[in-house]
């Protein structure tokens, strides 16, 4: 089988504007979930968010983009993470623009992140806003394609909270089949009234910072993030020093149970993990750490734990890094993929924060503190979404 490797990473989240800053926060158990500074909503005071601590104006300035040209926050954070990823992989402008380079992105809120402008335009309340041609889910990707003059295959997926995990899997398949030579894959989602009110209407938002896998968890915290990884075939990488990890496999399936909840027997999550292991030619015992989906909702954490109990004789280290950054929706899959790779590179586990009383139904508990010195060869990273979309990814140490 063709070996796919990660040769570059870029991320922006509430715990850091770069990969290095994210790593520092992960190691020091610094959570980004707090009162929002930039995001304006009725819920700004009553709820906490994993907000990126950089304003739209500052992002526009830093990226050298003109104000008033329809760059949404989804797009701005996407460009920033994309820029870090391609620099990290040492891709030249020609490499990025090449017809042999694919770009697979994802977003859920996409261009609809400025709820009030969208309201204004959708209800025709006067002259069009600067965003009138930028509401599509794919707009952030199209802007990047334009800015970098990309001529290759582009795609944008939306499978809710598993979106960017699927973008990575799609990218790997493009490489395996030889359709392209390199892939930039990931996603971007920023905080928006639309999603906050959506999740609030489902009554699954926690007033306090979320505490995934705690017996008294009350729901999820929403966050915003963008992340991209660069994927290449190992055989094509001449400068092996830029290889960060091996992407060993993925499993994609549907729970086919309920539009917004996981089945009690967790058949979808379990099947996704089994398919990923099969594709990676690994057994459950080979996994040393699981970066769980772990949203902090009563439903997810118990069903995901149930799936662990069925799949693993001895459940390995597991944690939800959503306890640091909140649920970043479409970006969650790639952000957690990056955190999984950081775990492998540094041989350490980043914990589930704020767990006071682990879920009692199961004999295992998440990793509760930053734990260095763990031999990690293979990490399983889970992403499950509304609509029943379940995806598991496996990343491995490069040997």
């Amino acid at each position: 089988m063709t070996e796919i490797v990660v040769t570059g990473m870029g991320a922006i989240s509430s715990i850091g504007l770069t990969i290095a800053e994210n790593l520092h926060s992960l190691k020091h158990e610094i959570s980004g979930i707090k009162k929002a500074k930039h995001f304006k909503s009725h819920y700004s005071d009553s709820l906490v968010f994993g907000e990126i601590d950089q304003s739209d104006e500052s992002l526009l300035n830093e990226l050298g983009l003109e104000k008033g040209r329809g760059f949404t926050r989804t797009t701005l954070i996407a460009i920033k993470a994309f820029r870090e990823a391609v620099a990290n992989a040492r891709l030249s402008p020609e490499d990025i623009a090449s017809t042999r380079t694919a770009f697979i992105s994802s977003s859920t809120v996409g261009g609809m992140c400025y709820t009030d402008d969208l309201y204004h335009d959708a209800n025709m309340q006067g002259a069009p806003s600067e965003y009138v041609k930028h509401y599509e889910g794919s707009d952030h990707a199209l802007q990047i394609v334009r800015l970098y003059g990309m001529k290759g295959i582009t795609d944008v997926v939306n499978t809710a909270c598993s979106s960017s995990a699927n973008a990575i899997a799609l990218g790997a398949r493009l490489l395996e089949t030889g359709k392209v030579d390199r892939v930039i894959a990931g996603g971007s989602d920023c905080l928006a009234k639309f999603t906050v009110n959506g999740f609030n209407s489902l009554r699954i938002l926690s007033e306090e910072p979320c505490k995934p896998f705690d017996a008294n968890r009350e729901g999820l915290s929403l966050g915003e993030a963008a992340g991209y990884v660069v994927l290449e075939r190992r055989a094509d990488v001449s400068d092996t020093s830029k290889i960060q990890a091996v992407f060993s496999g993925f499993g994609i399936c549907n729970d086919a149970f309920h539009p917004s909840a996981t089945s009690d027997d967790a058949r979808g999550p379990r099947m996704a993990m089994e398919l990923a292991l099969k594709r990676a030619e690994l057994n459950p015992v080979d996994i040393q750490y699981i970066n769980a989906h772990g949203t902090g909702t009563p439903n997810n954490d118990v069903t995901e734990s149930f799936a662990f109990s069925k799949l693993f004789n001895t459940v390995p280290h597991f944690s939800s890094t959503k306890s640091y950054v909140g649920h970043t929706l479409a970006a969650a899959g790639v952000l957690e993929a990056i955190y999984s790779i950081l775990s492998i590179q540094n041989q350490e586990v980043y914990p589930s924060l704020r767990v006071e009383e682990p879920i009692s139904e199961f004999p295992f508990r998440p990793t509760l503190n930053y734990t260095p010195g763990v031999a990690i060869g293979h990490v399983l990273s889970n992403s499950f979404g509304f609509g029943g979309n379940c995806t598991s990814l496996i990343f491995s140490a490069c040997i």
């Binding site: 909503s41 009725h42 859920t108 969208l118 069009p128 001529k151 939306n158 009110n197």
Partner: protein, 345 residues
């Protein structure tokens, strides 16, 4: 990828096959609304009432296709916008009730992957499941995904349900109208291409294919497809020629062209560049039938399959009635995103 079966709900009467049998709807409207069949026998009323139009049309196409074919190994959809009506209804509630207590139905229905999820749920399909939202190339992305899926299973028969959906709501009509994508004046779809003004008319619908890697008893084959964004007008000829070269074909091998001309004087010249490459070839302008929308290339593919099987020949513009064997579709949206799809019998 072989097409074993297909079905569509569109602004023409495709739902009962009147369209392919020669009954063509003349449309004198700003909005080309889909002709929807009765869903009574397909979807329980209580569920139907909660469904947004995109999900309803999508399921209205999926369930008949799934009913007459073996359970597919996966479900792949492309949609630029998904359930926009629900999306903006929810948005209006957010603004009008100042983010008060809202009901989640519209929110859950508005997510673009709601359709693929609902189809999986209703047909108890735990297989591969994906939704592409790549704007006006969302259907092409679904095709790419399907081809990658089949590439993994040489020698083992696999089947996929692959399709697209787009709905018109007042809101996305408003947004695209503000974006100057639609005509201000009304001409009939008969005269769409001669209107001499900017913009087009808005269409909608769902088109789906039951695809297999087994060619037995297939209706046609998706032979190849290619996409590009931000080409300049003088690059389009080269884009088409290089695609044919990759397929080891010359222009003579194409029996019929399906072109996405939509009557917009500012961007129809791109299609004319392509027509010049194939001078004198039979042509079909599919947007005269269904209008402009972001996943309309799925409908063009549907029509191509019909033509390849000797149906709907009345739509071929230059009088040639011979049954084509190789058909090329060229479509663009806003002259920004371009796609080519090659189908063969």
């Amino acid at each position: 990828m072989y097409i074993k079966d297909l079905y569509a709900i569109s602004p023409q009467k495709t739902h009962d096959l009147s369209f392919e049998n020669g009954e063509w709807q003349v449309l004198n409207e700003y909005i080309y609304k889909a002709v929807e069949p009765s869903y009574q026998d397909l979807i329980p009323n209580a569920q139907l009432r909660r469904m947004g139009k995109a999900v309803r049309m999508g399921i209205g196409v999926s369930l008949p296709l799934l009913g007459r074919n073996p359970k597919p190994d996966g479900i792949i959809f492309g949609t630029a916008n998904g359930g926009l009506e629900d999306c903006i209804k929810f948005l209006n509630q957010i603004v009008e009730y100042n983010e008060g207590t809202l009901t989640p139905t519209n929110f859950v229905q508005s997510t673009p992957n709601a359709l693929a999820g609902q189809v999986a749920l209703l047909s108890e399909n735990q297989g591969y499941n994906m939704t592409h939202v790549n704007g006006s190339l969302a259907f092409e992305s679904a095709l790419l995904d399907a081809s990658l899926y089949f590439d993994n299973y040489h020698g083992e028969e696999k089947n996929l349900l692959v399709g697209a959906v787009e709905e018109i709501s007042d809101y996305n009509y408003n947004i695209d109208r503000l974006g100057e994508r639609f005509k201000e004046e009304l001409v009939s779809n008969v005269d769409l291409l001669g209107s001499g003004t900017k913009g087009s008319y808005c269409g909608e619908g769902s088109t789906q294919f039951y695809l297999s890697n087994n060619p037995d008893n297939s209706l046609a084959e998706f032979k190849a497809f290619k996409q590009s964004s931000y080409l300049s007008e003088n690059e389009i000829g080269e884009f088409v020629k290089s695609f044919l070269d990759e397929q080891k074909l010359d222009t003579a091998a194409i029996d019929c062209l399906l072109l996405g001309k939509n009557g917009d004087v500012s961007t129809d010249s791109w299609y004319e560049q392509v027509e010049q490459l194939f001078s004198g070839k039979p042509k079909v302008y599919f947007k005269k039938s269904v209008g402009e929308y972001r996943t309309v290339s799925a409908f063009a593919s549907y029509l191509a399959v019909r033509l390849l099987n000797g149906q709907a020949g009345y739509l071929i513009e230059n009088g040639a009635t011979e049954k084509p064997r190789t058909v090329l579709i060229y479509n663009h949206f806003d002259a920004v995103r371009h796609s080519l799809i090659l189908l063969q019998k």
